[in-house]
C-alpha cells in the first residue's frame, strides 16, 4: 500500500517539473520506435535465407546455387487461382535438382510431380497460408481459406480437387472414394460433384418391406444390436442401439412387413431326391462360383470370398429355407435391384444349395434372444426410431418415406472452416483430425447424434478422410481451362431380347460396358472385336477362368442353348470397336517361318514369358493371363493392334507399350495365333500351313 502510494506520488511529481521526465520519455520513445524495424530485420525468413547461404557455401555446386539464389521475398502469383505463395522465400531448394541429398527443411528438393510449381503454386496441394512469411503463419494458421498445412498422409486429397476419375498415383484417394460409395455414405450425405452429378452409392441395402418372409424378429434384433456379431464383414454399421430400441425397431419391421405378392407357391422347399448329400451342395456352391461375390468363413477361421454380396457364414441362422429357395430361384422377384444374377437352377440344385446354405448356422447368435410379442406402443416407438435414424435413407421400408439429405451435405466438406467445427477436448483442432475422428467415433461430438459406428481399419479411415478432404470449393472455383471434364455417366442398358437376358443375369454388376457397370470383371465394350465367336459360346456354356489364381470367377448360369446363342450373337455384333475390322487378319494359316520368328521375339527381344506363359511346363509368367489357348480365344487383328498399343485398346492396362514395329507385331501375332490350346503348343508351328505370301497379303 505504501509502495503504491509512493508510486502514485512520484507519478504526480512528474507533472511538477516535467523537463527531465520529458527528456527521458523522448529517448525512450525513440528507442521503442526503433524496435519495430529491428524486429523486421531479424524476421524468420531472413534467418532461413542466411541458413541457406551457409548450407550451400561449401558445396561443390555452390557457384550454381548461389547464382540461382536471390535475396528477398519470393512469390508465385497466380491471379486465376487466387494464389499468392511465398513459400519459396524459405523453401529455397525446391527446384534445385542438385540438392537431392539435402534432407534438412526448409531446404530440401521437391519430389518430382506431374505439375509445374509455377503453374499451380504450393497451397493448391499443400494448403496452408501461402502469403505468410513466418513458419507458424504459413503452416499452422487456420485463417486462410485453405486452413493449415495438409498432413502428408492426406496429400492425395489435393489431386482429387481437379481429378474426379481414379488416378494411377492416388491409391488412397481412389480407395476412399470407393468406400464412400461402397459403404453407402452417400446415401445419407449428398456429395455433389462439380459437373452437377452426385456421387452414387455402390452398396446394395436390401428392401425391408417384406422382411418377415425372409427372416425372424430375433435375428433382426441380434443384427441391429451388432451387425458384426452375425457377420464379420457386415456392411451395415452399428447404430449403437439400446436393447429396448432394438426390440422396438425389430417389432416394427416385422409388424410392418407384408408378404411378397409374387411367386408364393415356391416358398415350399422342393423335395430333394433321396438323402441330401452335404458335399454335393458344397460343390454346387463352388461350381456356381458363389464365392466370387459372397464370403464365408472357412475351417481356419478366415473369411474367404468376394464382398459384392453378403457374407454367408451363418446364413442358416438368418434366412428361412423357403425364402432362400425362392430367392435362389429368382432373386429379382424379392428385390428388383439386387446385383445377384438369376441362375437357372433346377429344383434338384435348388434343394441342394438351400440345404447346404441352411446348414451354415451360428447357434450362439440367437441363443440368448428372447423377445415377447411387440406391443403397439413398442411398434409405434420402433417406427419413430426408424424415422429418427434415417433407416429409409438406405432401405426401402413400407410406409416410411426416404428422407432427403438425412445427413449434412458433404459436397464441400474439404473446405469447411475450422471455426464451424465442434471439437472434442484434447484432439487437434484441424479439419483432417475432425474428419477422421468423426469417422472413427461418430457419436463423441455431442449428444443426439445419429451417425452409426462403422468399423473401418486405420487405412480405410485415412482413405475416407482423404476422399472427403478432396471435396473442396476450389474444385468448383477452378478456372475453366483447368477443369478436367468427368466422363459422363449414362444409364446404359443393352437392348432387345439379349438385353433382357443380360439384365436378368446382371452382367453389368461385374462387367463394364461403354463406361457403365461394375469393375470386378473385364470390360466388355469391345468384346466382339476381341474374341472369337466359338470361344465365347463355349465360355458361356462352361466358364473356366482365364486366370486360375483368382478367386473371383465368372459363374455358370445354366443357360439354355437358345439363350446362349442369343447372347453370343448380341455380344459379337453389338460390342465391337468401330476402328477394328476383326476379320482383317486370318485366325490361322501363318507361315512356320513367321511363327518361328514370333517365338524368337516372344522369348528373346520382348521377353513376354516373364509375365505370360505359353508353355506351362517352361514359362513362369503369372502376372498377365496365360496364353496357352490364346489362338482359339482372340482375333488376330485384335492381338496385332494390342501388341502395337495396348493402352489404346484398354486404357490403364499394365501391359507395357513396346512401340513394336509392324513386322514384329505381325510375327508375334502369328506365333500367338498358333497357340490353340490343349497340347497344341508343340504342334502349333506345324499346323500353320498357309503360305507366307497369303499372310502378308492379309496383313497389308
Amino acid at each position: 500500500m505504501r509502495a503504491l502510494n509512493k508510486l502514485w506520488n512520484s507519478w504526480r511529481g512528474l507533472f511538477r517539473d516535467p523537463i527531465q521526465p520529458f527528456g527521458i520519455a523522448s529517448v525512450l520513445l525513440l528507442v521503442a520506435l526503433a524496435i519495430a524495424p529491428a524486429k523486421d530485420h531479424f524476421s524468420e525468413w531472413h534467418y532461413y535465407q542466411h541458413g541457406y547461404l551457409r548450407l550451400i557455401k561449401n558445396r561443390r555446386d555452390a557457384a550454381v546455387l548461389q547464382r540461382h539464389f536471390e535475396p528477398g521475398i519470393h512469390q508465385i502469383w497466380l491471379p486465376d487461382l487466387g494464389v499468392v505463395d511465398r513459400c519459396e522465400t524459405c523453401h529455397l531448394g525446391l527446384t534445385e535438382t542438385s540438392l537431392g541429398d539435402i534432407k534438412m527443411e526448409p531446404y530440401s528438393r521437391h519430389p518430382v510431380i506431374p505439375h509445374s510449381m509455377q503453374q499451380f503454386g504450393c497451397v493448391m496441394c499443400h494448403r496452408g497460408q501461402g502469403v505468410a512469411t513466418t513458419v507458424a503463419g504459413a503452416h499452422e494458421s487456420a485463417l486462410s481459406s485453405d486452413g493449415p498445412i495438409l498432413p502428408a498422409q492426406y496429400s492425395e486429397a489435393s489431386c482429387g480437387q481437379c481429378h474426379h476419375a481414379p488416378l494411377e498415383g492416388t491409391p488412397t484417394l481412389n480407395q476412399g472414394r470407393f468406400l464412400l460409395a461402397r459403404y453407402g455414405c452417400v446415401r445419407c450425405h449428398t456429395i455433389k460433384l462439380p459437373d452437377g452429378t452426385s456421387m452414387q452409392p455402390a452398396d446394395t441395402p436390401p428392401p425391408l418391406s417384406h422382411i418377415a418372409d425372409k427372416t425372424t424378429r430375433e435375428w433382426i434384433y441380434a443384427w441391429l444390436r451388432d451387425p458384426k456379431s452375425y457377420a464379420a464383414t457386415a456392411t451395415m454399421p452399428n447404430f449403437l442401439l439400446s436393447d429396448n430400441d432394438a426390440r422396438d425397431i425389430s417389432g416394427f419391421l416385422i409388424a410392418n412387413s407384408v408378404p411378397e405378392p409374387g411367386d408364393t407357391a415356391t416358398l415350399k422347399p422342393p423335395k430333394a431326391g433321396g438323402s441330401v448329400d452335404p458335399t454335393a451342395g458344397a460343390s454346387l456352391y463352388g461350381e456356381s462360383f458363389c464365392a466370387s461375390c459372397h464370403a464365408m468363413q472357412n475351417a481356419a477361421g478366415n473369411v474367404v470370398g468376394g464382398d459384392l454380396g453378403p457374407e454367408l457364414t451363418a446364413i442358416g441362422t438368418k434366412v428361412k429355407p423357403e425364402w432362400l429357395t425362392a430367392w435362389l430361384r429368382d432373386p429379382r422377384n424379392y428385390d428388383a435391384g439386387t446385383p445377384m444374377p438369376h441362375y437357372r437352377f433346377t429344383d434338384q440344385q435348388l434343394a441342394l444349395l438351400t440345404g447346404f446354405l441352411e446348414s451354415k448356422t451360428n447357434t450362439d447368435l440367437l441363443a440368448n434372444v428372447h423377445l415377447d410379442p411387440a406391443t403397439p406402443a413398442q411398434i409405434a416407438h420402433g417406427k419413430k426410431l426408424v424415422e429418427e435414424y434415417g433407416c429409409a435413407s438406405c432401405h426401402e421400408i413400407r410406409g416410411v418415406a426416404k428422407p432427403d439429405n438425412y445427413g449434412p451435405e458433404l459436397s464441400q466438406i474439404g473446405s469447411k472452416p475450422v471455426a464451424q467445427l465442434v471439437f472434442v477436448k484434447g484432439m487437434p483442432e484441424t479439419l483432417p483430425a475432425y474428419l477422421s475422428t468423426k469417422i472413427k467415433h461418430p457419436r463423441i461430438f455431442g449428444p443426439g447424434l445419429h451417425m452409426p459406428q462403422f468399423s473401418f481399419t486405420p487405412e480405410q479411415v485415412d482413405a475416407l478422410t482423404t476422399a472427403l478432404l478432396s471435396l473442396t470449393d476450389r474444385s468448383v472455383t477452378l478456372p475453366a481451362k483447368l477443369q478436367i471434364p468427368t466422363p459422363q455417366q449414362t444409364d446404359y442398358e443393352p437392348a432387345g431380347k439379349a438385353g433382357q437376358l443380360m439384365a436378368d443375369l446382371n452382367c453389368m454388376a461385374c462387367h463394364r460396358i461403354n463406361g457403365h457397370g461394375g469393375t470386378m470383371a473385364p470390360d466388355l465394350s469391345w468384346e466382339g472385336s476381341s474374341v472369337q465367336k466359338q470361344w465365347l459360346d463355349a465360355f458361356l456354356k462352361n466358364p473356366n477362368t482365364l486366370r486360375p489364381t483368382l478367386i473371383r470367377r465368372m459363374p455358370k448360369f445354366n443357360l439354355t442353348d437358345e439363350e446362349r446363342a442369343e447372347l453370343t450373337d448380341y455380344i459379337m455384333t453389338a460390342y465391337q470397336n468401330p476402328d477394328i475390322d476383326r476379320d482383317a487378319m486370318p485366325l490361322s494359316g501363318y507361315s512356320p517361318d513367321q511363327v518361328e520368328h514370333g517365338r524368337e521375339l516372344f522369348y528373346g527381344k520382348y521377353a513376354c514369358q516373364s509375365c505370360h506363359m505359353v508353355d506351362p511346363a517352361k514359362d513362369k509368367g503369372y502376372i498377365g493371363p496365360p496364353l496357352t489357348e490364346v489362338g482359339s480365344r482372340l482375333n488376330a487383328e485384335w492381338i496385332y493392334l494390342w501388341l502395337k498399343n495396348p493402352q489404346k485398346l484398354r486404357p490403364g492396362t499394365i501391359e507395357p507399350n513396346h512401340d513394336m514395329s509392324d513386322d514384329d507385331a505381325r510375327a508375334l501375332t502369328a506365333f500367338l495365333m498358333a497357340q490353340k490350346g490343349a497340347g497344341s503348343q508343340k504342334t502349333g508351328t506345324r499346323t500353320a500351313s498357309v503360305s507366307a505370301s497369303g499372310t502378308k497379303g492379309a496383313g497389308e
Binding site: 524486429k39 502469403v131 503463419g137
Partner: protein, 268 residues
C-alpha cells in the same frame, strides 16, 4: 523554476532571420515572449496564453483530454501511413492486410499501433466524459463545450466503427453487419438509412468504399473541426474548470448573472 536550458547553437538558430520569419514571437523567456508564442501560432492560438498552476497537477484532470487528442494525432499519422498500402476493394483489402502482416516492413507494427490506439481513443474519450461530468465541469458557462464533447464522442465512435470494416475479415464483416442491421429498426425510414449507410442491402464492396471515405476523409475532418472548437471554447469559457472555486450553493441563474458581472480582483 528553471524550465529551459538552451544550447548556444539553438540560440543562434533561433536568432536567425529564417527562424524569425517563421516564428514571429521571437526569442526570450519573458512572459510577453511566451504569450506571443501562443498567440502568434495558428495552431496554438486557440489555447489560452496562461493557465492556472494547480490545473497542471496530474490529479486535476488526469490529462484525459490531452491523451485523447494524443491518440487522435497518433491515429492520423499511422492512418496516413496505412493508406499507402490499402485498397478499399474486395478482396484486395484483405490481401493488403496479409501483405501488411507478412511483407511490408513494420507493416504489422503499424497496423497494431493504429488498432490499439483506436481502442485507446474510444476508451479515453469515455473516461474523459465521465471525469468531466464528475468534476462538474459541464456547468455554465461551459454547457456548449460539453455538447461539443458529446459530438466528438460520437465522431470518435463512428471513426472507430467505420474503421472496423476496413480489414474486410470475418470480424469486420459481421460486426458491421450486426451494427448496421440496427439502423433498419428505425421506424419508417430504417431501410432507407440502412441502404444509404451501406450503399446496398448487404455489407459489400460499396459499403467498404463508403466506410473508407467516411473513415479517411469526412469523419477525420469533422473531428479536427470539433476538436478545434472544443479547445477554443476552453479558452473562451475561462480556462479549465476549477472545482474548489465554485461557491457551494451556486445556481444556474446566478452563474449566468455572473457572466455579466465582471470578475473583480481585490488587491491584497
Amino acid at each position: 523554476m528553471q524550465l529551459q536550458k538552451q544550447a548556444s547553437r539553438l540560440d543562434k538558430l533561433m536568432a536567425s532571420r529564417l527562424w524569425k520569419s517563421i516564428f514571429r514571437s521571437g526569442r526570450g523567456a519573458s512572459t510577453l515572449h511566451r504569450s506571443m508564442a501562443i498567440q502568434q501560432n495558428v495552431f496554438l492560438h486557440i489555447l489560452p496564453t496562461k493557465v492556472r498552476r494547480r490545473m497542471l497537477n496530474f490529479d486535476a484532470t488526469w490529462y484525459l483530454g490531452t491523451l485523447t487528442l494524443g491518440t487522435f494525432l497518433l491515429l492520423v499519422i499511422t492512418g496516413i501511413l496505412l493508406m499507402f498500402y490499402y485498397h478499399p476493394s474486395v478482396p484486395q483489402a484483405y490481401a493488403d492486410m496479409k501483405d501488411l502482416r507478412y511483407v511490408v516492413s513494420s507493416g504489422l507494427f503499424l497496423r497494431n499501433l493504429h488498432r490499439w490506439s483506436a481502442h485507446a481513443m474510444v476508451l479515453l474519450a469515455f473516461a474523459h466524459m465521465f471525469r468531466v461530468f464528475y468534476r462538474g465541469a459541464y456547468r455554465p458557462p461551459r454547457e456548449f463545450n460539453w455538447v461539443v464533447g458529446v459530438i466528438l464522442l460520437l465522431v470518435t465512435l463512428l471513426l472507430s466503427y467505420t474503421g472496423y470494416l476496413l480489414p474486410w475479415d470475418q470480424l469486420a464483416f459481421w460486426a458491421i453487419t450486426v451494427g448496421s442491421n440496427i439502423s433498419s429498426a428505425v421506424p419508417v425510414v430504417g431501410h432507407k438509412i440502412h441502404f444509404l449507410l451501406l450503399g446496398g442491402n448487404l455489407v459489400n464492396a460499396n459499403a467498404l468504399l463508403r466506410f473508407y471515405v467516411l473513415h479517411t476523409v469526412i469523419l477525420p475532418l469533422a473531428a479536427v473541426l470539433f476538436i478545434a472548437v472544443h479547445f477554443w471554447r476552453i479558452r473562451k469559457d475561462g480556462g479549465l474548470y476549477v472545482q474548489q472555486s465554485e461557491p457551494a450553493r451556486e445556481t444556474a441563474e446566478e452563474a449566468r448573472a455572473d457572466e455579466n458581472t465582471q470578475q473583480v480582483v481585490v488587491k491584497q
